[in-house]
C-alpha cells in the first residue's frame, strides 16, 4: 500500500495557498458532466454535497436517516473553534494549529492541522451568513468561550446546541440545492458496498431501508462522510444508527484504515443504569467548571447517601492528584482517574461504575439561581434521565465512548488509498491525532466539506480521466450479488440469539473491558481471542426474522454488527501494536511512575494504516511516518 500524503512543499503557512494554485480545475461548463456521490449528510457530507452542487457538479447524497437534518452531528453540544481572535486574547491561526497538534498528543499531520486552523475563520463567516444564531454579546458581536486544552477563548457556540445549529445551516444549504434540482437526496438508504472499476472508486451499492431494494449508483467520484465507529463499543454517546459499515466496506475494497485504536472517552456522561440500556448521554464538559468530582475514601461508604458522608471522608481525587488543573484536567486524564477510583471498589452506583460530580459547594458559594443560570438545561436533562435532582444530590457520572479519531487514511487532498474515494469528517483520520480537543470536531467536519473537498475533488476529476461507467458494468453486478448474498446469509442462520446480544457482548464484555479506557497486552490478546469466537457464534446463533425485501430493522442491525465484529479485531490489533500511551490510547505498560501516559515518539510517531489482505488473513500494517517541523514534541503535564 502506497501512503503518499501529498503534502505540498514550502513553509507551513503557504502550503494550502500554493496547493490550491497547483490543483487542476474543472471548467465550469464541464462540472455538470461529473456525477459525485456523497454518503452521509452530517456536517461534512451535508456541507460537501451543498457546496459541490453550488459549483455545478451533479450530486447524489445518501443517508440512512429519514432526513439529512438528523445526522448525528446534530448532537454536538459545546461549540466550534476558530482563530478569529475576536477577544484579542492572543489567539492566532498558528496558536490554534499548535494547540490542536499538542491536544492530539502529536499524532496528527502538521500540514492538515495548519490548514484546518486557517479555514476555521472562513467557517464562522460562512455559518453566520447562513443565519446560524451564534451567541452574541450585548454590543451585537459574537461571543466566545474557553474550552478544554486552550488558554484562549476561541470557541463560538449556540447555547448547548452548536452542532444542531451548524448542521441546520448546512442542511438548509443542502435543501436549497435539492430544491434547485442540483442534488438528488436519497434518505433512508444505506450504503452496503463500494464499487471499483479499474482501481478507481466508481460507485456504491445501497439498500433502500423501506423497500429493501438493492440498487447500484455509478459516479465519477465517491465521498464518504459517514462518521465514527464509536458504536463498536455498543454503549456510546453516538446515535443508535451510527455504524462502521460504509468505512469498513471501503476498507475491504482496499482503503487503508488508520489508527483505529484512537478512541475518545468523554469523562462526564450519565452512567449505565441496567442491562436494557441502549445508549449513553453526554453531559457537557463545561459542568466541570463548577462541579467537584469525588468518591468516598472508604469503600463501605459507597452505599450511604452522599450528603451524609462528611468532607473528611471524601476523596476529591482530581484535586488531590492534579492540584494545578484540579477538576479541569483534559478528557482522557479525567476519564482514567474515574476508572481508577471505581476499580478501587469505590463506585457510587450499585451494580454499575459511577463517581460523583458535586455542585454542593458551588451552590453554597454562588447560590442555586446562579448555578441554574449557568447549567439549568443540563441539570434538567440529568433530572429527566436519572430521576434525581442534581440541586439536592450530587450527579453521578462515568466516562463513555464519545468520538473516534481513527478512520480511513486520507492524503492532503482527503483522498483515501483508493483513487476517487474521498473521506471527510469523523470518518477520516486526519486532524485530531490521538485525542480530539473539545469544539474541534465541528470545525473539521465543516472545513472538509465547505472548503477542502470542493478544491481537491476537482483536481482528481481533472486528472483521473476515467471513462464513464454505468451500473451495467460487471463490477456493479458483482458487488450487488455480494451484498445480496450476505443479506441472505444473515437471514438464513436461524439461531435463537438477537443482534443486540452479540453487539452488547462485543462492545461491553470485550471491547470496553479489554480495549476501553486502559489497555494492556494480556487484555488485548484476550480480546483478540474472544472476538473471532464471538464472530463464529454470531454466524451460527443469530436470529434475523423477516426477509430482505421489506423494512427489516433486525436485518439492518445485523449487517452493521457483523461488520463491527470484524472491525473490532483491527481496533484491538492496532491497540496491541501501539506500545505507547498517547491521547485516548492508554497502555498500562507505558505510564510514568505517577500513572500518566508515556508516549514513545521514537518508535510510534506514525499513523498506523491497516490494509485488508483477505478474510482469513491478518491485515498488513503500513506506516505513515509523521514529522514535526513546527511543533515541539513535549510531554503533556497537568499536575
Amino acid at each position: 500500500m502506497e501512503l503518499n500524503a501529498r503534502i505540498p512543499a514550502g513553509p507551513i503557512s503557504e502550503k494550502w495557498d500554493k496547493h490550491r494554485f497547483e490543483l487542476k480545475l474543472v471548467n465550469p461548463a464541464n462540472k455538470r458532466k461529473f456525477k459525485i456521490i456523497v454518503v452521509g449528510s452530517g456536517l461534512a457530507g451535508g456541507s460537501a454535497a451543498a457546496t459541490l452542487a453550488e459549483l455545478g457538479y451533479d450530486v447524489d447524497c445518501f443517508c440512512f436517516q429519514d432526513s439529512p437534518r438528523r445526522a448525528h452531528s446534530i448532537a454536538a453540544q459545546g461549540g466550534i473553534n476558530a482563530a478569529k481572535n475576536y477577544p484579542n486574547d492572543g489567539d492566532s491561526i498558528y496558536r490554534l494549529f499548535y494547540d490542536t497538534v499538542k491536544g492530539g498528543d502529536y499524532r496528527a499531520r502538521e500540514a492538515n492541522v495548519y490548514r484546518l486552523a486557517q479555514i476555521s475563520n472562513n467557517i464562522i463567516d460562512q455559518c453566520v451568513a447562513q443565519g446560524v444564531p451564534f451567541a452574541r454579546e450585548y454590543g451585537g458581536m459574537l461571543a466566545n468561550r474557553s474550552f478544554g486544552g486552550a488558554q484562549v477563548s476561541r470557541t463560538f457556540y449556540a447555547r448547548g446546541q452548536t452542532g444542531q445549529q451548524l448542521l441546520l445551516g448546512a442542511y438548509s444549504a443542502l435543501e436549497r440545492m435539492i430544491g434547485a434540482g442540483k442534488v438528488k437526496m436519497h434518505p433512508r438508504t444505506e450504503m452496503l458496498d463500494l464499487v471499483l472499476v479499474d482501481g478507481h472508486a466508481r460507485g456504491i451499492v445501497t439498500r433502500n431501508l423501506i423497500t429493501g431494494a438493492i440498487e447500484s449508483w455509478a459516479a465519477d467520484a465517491v465521498i464518504l462522510a459517514t462518521g465514527g465507529y464509536g458504536n463498536v463499543f455498543y454503549l456510546s454517546t453516538n446515535a443508535m444508527g451510527s455504524n462502521v459499515t460504509a468505512s469498513y466496506r471501503c476498507y475491504k475494497r482496499g482503503a487503508g484504515f488508520a489508527n483505529p485504536c484512537f478512541t475518545q472517552i468523554h469523562p462526564t456522561c450519565i452512567p449505565v443504569s441496567g442491562d436494557y440500556q441502549s445508549k449513553l448521554t453526554l453531559m457537557s464538559e463545561s459542568l466541570r467548571n463548577d462541579g467537584r468530582v469525588w468518591v468516598p475514601k472508604k469503600a463501605e461508604d459507597c452505599r450511604k447517601r452522599p450528603r451524609e458522608i462528611p468532607e473528611e471522608d471524601r476523596d476529591y481525587y482530581l484535586e488531590r492528584k492534579y492540584p494545578a488543573f484540579g477538576n479541569l484536567v483534559p478528557r482522557d486524564v479525567a476519564s482514567r482517574a474515574a476508572k481508577e477510583a471505581v476499580d478501587s471498589g469505590r463506585s457510587v452506583l450499585a451494580g454499575s461504575p459511577a463517581v460523583y460530580l458535586d455542585f454542593g459547594n458551588a451552590i453554597r458559594r454562588d447560590g442555586e439561581d446562579a448555578i441554574r443560570d449557568r447549567y439549568g438545561n443540563l441539570f434538567d436533562m440529568y433530572e429527566r434521565i436519572s430521576g434525581e435532582n442534581p440541586y439536592e444530590t450530587p450527579m453521578r457520572i462515568y466516562p463513555a465512548v464519545h468520538y473516534t479519531m481513527g478512520g480511513l487514511w486520507v492524503d492532503y487532498n482527503l483522498m483515501s488509498t483508493i483513487p476517487g474515494l474521498h473521506v471527510l469528517g469523523e470518518a477520516n483520520f486526519s486532524d485530531h491525532g490521538a485525542n480530539r480537543l473539545g469544539a474541534s470536531a465541528l470545525m473539521q467536519g465543516l472545513a472538509d466539506g465547505y472548503f477542502v473537498i470542493p478544491y481537491t475533488i476537482g483536481h482528481y476529476l481533472a486528472t483521473a480521466k476515467q471513462p464513464k461507467v454505468s451500473t451495467d458494468h460487471a463490477a456493479f453486478k458483482a458487488a450487488e450479488e455480494a451484498v445480496k448474498g450476505r443479506l441472505k446469509r444473515l437471514l438464513s442462520v436461524g439461531g435463537d440469539k438477537s443482534v443486540d446480544y452479540f453487539h452488547r457482548t462485543l462492545g461491553v464484555d470485550i471491547l470496553w473491558e479489554y480495549c476501553g479506557m486502559a489497555r494492556n497486552e494480556a487484555g488485548l490478546k484476550k480480546a483478540l481471542q474472544l472476538i473471532p469466537e464471538l464472530r463464529e457464534r454470531f454466524w451460527k446463533e443469530i436470529r434475523v426474522p423477516g426477509s430482505a425485501s421489506e423494512l427489516n430493522i433486525w436485518l439492518e442491525k445485523a449487517g452493521r454488527v457483523a461488520d463491527f465484529l470484524e472491525f473490532a479485531e483491527i481496533l484491538c490489533l492496532d491497540a496491541l501494536n501501539r506500545e505507547e500511551s498517547c491521547g485516548g490510547h492508554f497502555r498500562e505498560e507505558h505510564q510514568t511512575a505517577d500513572g500518566e501516559a508515556k508516549r514513545d515518539d521514537h518508535k510510534f510517531a506514525y499513523g498506523a494504516v491497516w490494509e485488508y489482505k483477505g478474510d482469513n488473513q491478518a491485515p498488513a500494517l503500513n506506516k505513515e511516518q509523521l514529522s514535526f517541523e513546527y511543533v515541539k514534541l513535549a510531554t503533556r503535564n497537568y499536575a
Binding site: A129, F134, L142, Y450, W554
Partner: protein, 254 residues
C-alpha cells in the same frame, strides 16, 4: 428511587404498510424497570417478539438524547407522551406506574403517510425547507462574521425559533394537522436576523405555498402545537408567519 419492576399493558398501532389497514394490538410487558427510557421498554418488547418469531414494532429513533427529532409517537393521545418539553426518547418509565395501560400511535396526518407501524414519512418538512427555508448564500466569500452586529436579544430570539428539531409533534398535536408552527419557526428564525431579510418575502410565500400543497391543515389558533413542542417553540412564530405572509402578499415586488 424505586427499583421495583412494573407491569405495563401496551396498545400499539400495527400497520404493515402505507395502504394496509392498521389496528391497535395489545402487548403485556412485565419486568419494566422504572429507569428505562420509553424506547428501551419498546426494545425489550421487540426482543420478546423476536423470540416469539413475531414482527418487531417499527419506530423511528436515532440519537436518543432529544435532539435529532427522529422519534415520533403519540403516547396516550399526546405527541411524545405526558412530559412537557420532552421527546419520547427522553421519556422514562418512571413517568408511569405499574398496571398502566399505554396507547401508542404514529403521528397522524395526510402529509405524513404511515410507512409501517409507528414510522411516518416526514419528507414534506424537507420539501418545505427546500422551497425557501434558507439564506441563499454560496459557500465562500461571506463577509467577516462580525461585520454585521446583531443585538443579543434578536440573536437569542432567533435561536429560540431555530431550536426546532423538525420532529413533527406540532402537526401530530394540531386538531387540523397543520404545519404552521414548523413553518413559522423557520420564517421567524431567519426573519429575526439581517441575513434573512433579503429573501424575506419570497421565502414566506414559497414556504406557505409548499405547506399548502403538501396537504397540511390550516391553523385555528388553538395552541396545541406549541404546548406539545419538545423544544417549546413559542406560538409567536405563527404570528410572525401570518404577518410576514400578509405583508408579502400585499407588496408587489420581491
Amino acid at each position: 428511587m424505586s427499583d421495583e419492576k412494573m407491569k405495563i399493558t401496551l396498545h400499539v398501532w400495527r400497520q404493515k404498510g402505507p395502504s394496509a389497514p392498521g389496528e391497535l394490538k395489545t402487548y403485556k410487558v412485565d419486568n419494566v424497570n422504572p429507569h428505562m427510557s420509553f424506547l428501551e421498554m419498546l426494545d425489550v418488547l421487540n426482543e420478546e417478539l423476536l423470540q416469539k418469531n413475531e414482527d418487531p414494532i417499527a419506530f423511528d429513533h436515532d440519537c436518543r438524547e432529544g435532539i435529532c427529532g427522529m422519534c415520533s409517537m403519540v403516547v396516550n393521545g399526546r405527541p411524545h407522551g405526558p412530559r412537557k418539553a420532552t421527546t419520547t426518547c427522553q421519556l422514562h418509565m418512571r413517568s408511569f406506574k405499574s398496571g398502566d395501560e399505554i396507547y401508542i400511535e404514529p403521528w397522524r396526518a395526510k402529509a405524513f403517510p404511515i410507512i409501517k407501524d409507528l414510522m411516518v414519512d416526514r419528507s414534506a418538512f424537507d420539501r418545505i425547507i427546500a422551497s425557501g427555508g434558507y439564506v441563499a448564500v454560496h459557500t465562500g466569500g461571506a463577509p467577516d462574521a462580525n461585520a454585521l452586529p446583531i443585538g443579543k436579544k434578536d440573536a437569542d430570539e432567533a435561536f429560540d425559533y431555530a431550536a426546532c428539531i423538525g420532529c413533527g409533534a406540532c402537526v401530530a398535536a394540531c386538531p387540523n394537522a397543520s404545519a404552521m408552527l414548523f413553518v413559522g419557526a423557520k420564517v421567524a428564525h431567519l426573519g429575526k436576523l439581517p441575513q434573512g431579510e433579503v429573501e424575506r418575502r419570497s421565502r414566506v410565500l414559497n414556504m406557505v405555498h409548499t405547506m399548502d400543497t403538501e396537504g397540511f391543515g390550516a391553523c385555528t389558533n388553538h395552541g396545541e402545537c406549541s404546548a406539545s413542542c419538545p423544544k417549546e417553540i413559542p406560538l409567536e412564530a405563527i404570528m410572525t408567519l401570518n404577518r410576514d405572509y400578509a405583508r408579502a402578499s400585499f407588496s408587489g415586488d420581491e
